[in-house]
């Protein structure tokens, strides 16, 4: 019984820590697949957080608090907060300023960003969302935020 429990506990951590370096080639069903791969994965979200900084998303969204662009950590979503909606916002752009990143970033990078953006308003599993930031940050880390609708 005890061993079964230990086995069960180790199994729950698998999905969180899995790092898939070689991703499947882009295909028709990729929209769903990409999301399944990154949704509860700590590595994907941490990469998403890095890319959020690298690609200067903060230039408009300011660490999620909003500035020139809308806030990403509140409960308002102009274009929906389903992973597919956020993916479309990133890859195709939206009116009034959101540029299209298609051709500039890879599909898997976009999915990592989607997973991270969802974690900003508490939509990711807390055990997989990023913890403290590397730099000074006044708010609560992503894994401490409650889900906002």
């Amino acid at each position: 019984m005890r061993w079964a429990l230990v086995l069960l506990l180790t199994l729950t951590a698998c999905e969180r820590e899995q790092r898939q370096y070689q991703l499947p080639a882009p295909q028709a069903s990729f929209v769903k697949q990409g999301h399944v791969l990154t949704e509860h994965n700590a590595y994907a979200m941490s990469q998403g957080k890095t890319l959020f900084r690298w690609f200067n998303c903060s230039g408009c969204h300011s660490n999620g608090g909003g500035g020139m662009g809308p806030a990403l950590m509140d409960d308002k979503w102009r274009y929906g907060n389903n992973p597919e909606d956020i993916y479309t916002s990133i890859m195709e752009g939206r009116p009034n300023g959101m540029p299209s990143f298609r051709g500039r970033i890879n599909e898997d990078q976009a999915w990592q960003l989607v997973a991270y953006v969802r974690s900003m308003s508490g939509w990711a599993k807390k055990d997989a969302a990023p913890g403290r930031s590397d730099a000074l940050y006044p708010g609560e880390p992503e894994n401490m935020r409650d889900k906002r609708n």
Partner: protein, 315 residues
Amino acid sequence: MQSILQSAGPQAAHIESLWWLTLAMCTAVFLAILVALGLALMRKRRGTAATPPDISFITKKERAAELAVVAGVGVSLLGLIVLTLASFVTDRALASLGAPDLQIDVTGHQWWWDARYDDQDKSKIFTVANEIHIPVGKPVLLRLRADDVIHSFWVPNLSGKKDMIPGRDATLTLQADKPGVYRGQCAEFCGAQHAKMALLFIADEKYEEWAAAQRKPAPQPANEQQKRGRDLFVDGRCAMCHAIQGTTANARHAPDLTHLMSRQMLAAGAVPNSIGHLAGWILDPSSIKPGSNMPPNPMEPDDLHALLAYLGTLK
């Protein structure tokens, strides 16, 4: 090639002599202990189970044993003092190389090295990656930083090790007396590709010529194919992280590629810099360095050839 026993500069020479002294003393101590052990083993048993115990030491002093203990403690103490002094003198020597001629800011990233050559004249500052040239016989000051996690800078033939900690500046002075190529390697585990985070330190007799060439912006594309390659680079994925001076690509999250073709290795020492390896690296980096932050870039053959043709001009 990567050895502290083939020192190529004063810093490494100090460390090498300290290493030899420590080795000699430790060997001597080890041999002395083995001899003492041998003597103890050879010493005959002085009686059988029937002999009454020897308790003469209560009344009679054991001069020989006393002398051996005192001498042993004295020699050990002396040895330790010599090693401490030698280490102190070496440290002092390492810190007094003289005023540096050149300052380079070296930043460790997962998993590559960024080197920015500082200059009083701001227009002379330039950036390279993974291959650092220095003049021969002149002290160089390195300012070491880390961008993401803790790395450690170590070129064994030229200097000691120095940790690079995010948010802190560490400095290291070194000098190469013999021209040559010295390999360095990250010496602090820093993630999946720690083993493939190498750099080449090149003590270059023609340093000034090299630096002058590195300061130049990238050449303009000479034909239609190269022009198409440049447009792919600047308008596509590459420019999201890489920089090429003289174009609008100016991101700083990946190696500066202005003079990519002047380097010997690709991907921080992972593979030699040839067109074939470069094509493989662009298409599928995870087959060379799984987990690398360079994403896969599937593209049409024509586009790939155009991009390679353009990158080939970055000498």
